[in-house]
């Protein structure tokens, strides 16, 4: 399923909404999640999962082609942990 298919499903269920409003609603939800993580916040959606930010320490990396050492700075990366309900559903429980 891709974004446009998700929008279509929501639009089908809500015939009173314009398609462009459904697109805005879907975008707002995903943008809000990204904005929260950009602030360092955690997003917890019970039953679905939780998005959080993990810190990766600075390290000395290596260019695999040349073998040259490069300094990699500390950075923060997005992380998703599946919720219990969804995990159980994936396994047919």
């Amino acid at each position: 399923m891709i974004r446009s298919e998700l929008v279509q499903k929501i639009a089908d269920e809500n015939p009173h909404l314009y398609q462009r409003d459904v697109e805005r609603i879907v975008s707002t939800i995903f943008d809000e999640i990204i904005d929260a993580m950009a602030r360092g916040d955690r997003v917890e959606l019970r039953g679905f999962g939780a998005f959080s930010v993990k810190k990766r320490d600075a390290r000395t990396g290596r260019n695999p082609r040349t073998g040259e050492s490069v300094q990699v700075e500390e950075k923060h990366v997005p992380f998703f942990k599946t919720g219990k309900l969804l995990r159980d559903r994936l396994n047919g429980k």
Binding site: I10, I33, D41, E44, H76, V77, P78, L86
Partner: protein
């Protein structure tokens, strides 16, 4: 880092502010989005949200695990797990926003 926790309520509040539907309807729409994504994943489909990320379902084979406390061997049954791969946009925004 502020370390606040954002929930469904905050997402529906954002929809309410942005689109001007009732709070109740905004909450139902947030629920609908999560439900459709969950249904697709439960059916084994991949969910690809452009500029957000991709959720995919992976099959894990059975293996022998070990209780780390007792050292006892326990069989781990084959199972399906969900992996999320963030988009470049998400990675860039999260990295930029949390720069110290």
């Amino acid at each position: 880092m502020s370390e606040k926790t954002v929930t469904r309520m905050d997402l529906s509040e954002a929809v309410f502010r942005e689109v001007g539907l009732s709070r109740n309807e905004s909450a139902q729409l947030v629920e609908g989005v999560l439900a459709h994504m969950s249904d697709a994943l439960a059916a084994g489909d991949q969910v690809k949200i452009s500029s957000f990320g991709t959720f995919s379902v992976r099959d894990k084979a059975a293996r022998v695990g070990r209780n780390p406390k007792t050292g006892q061997e326990v069989p781990i049954h084959p199972r399906r797990v969900l992996t999320f791969r963030p988009s470049h946009l998400m990675k860039d925004r999260v990295a930029a926003g949390n720069k110290s």
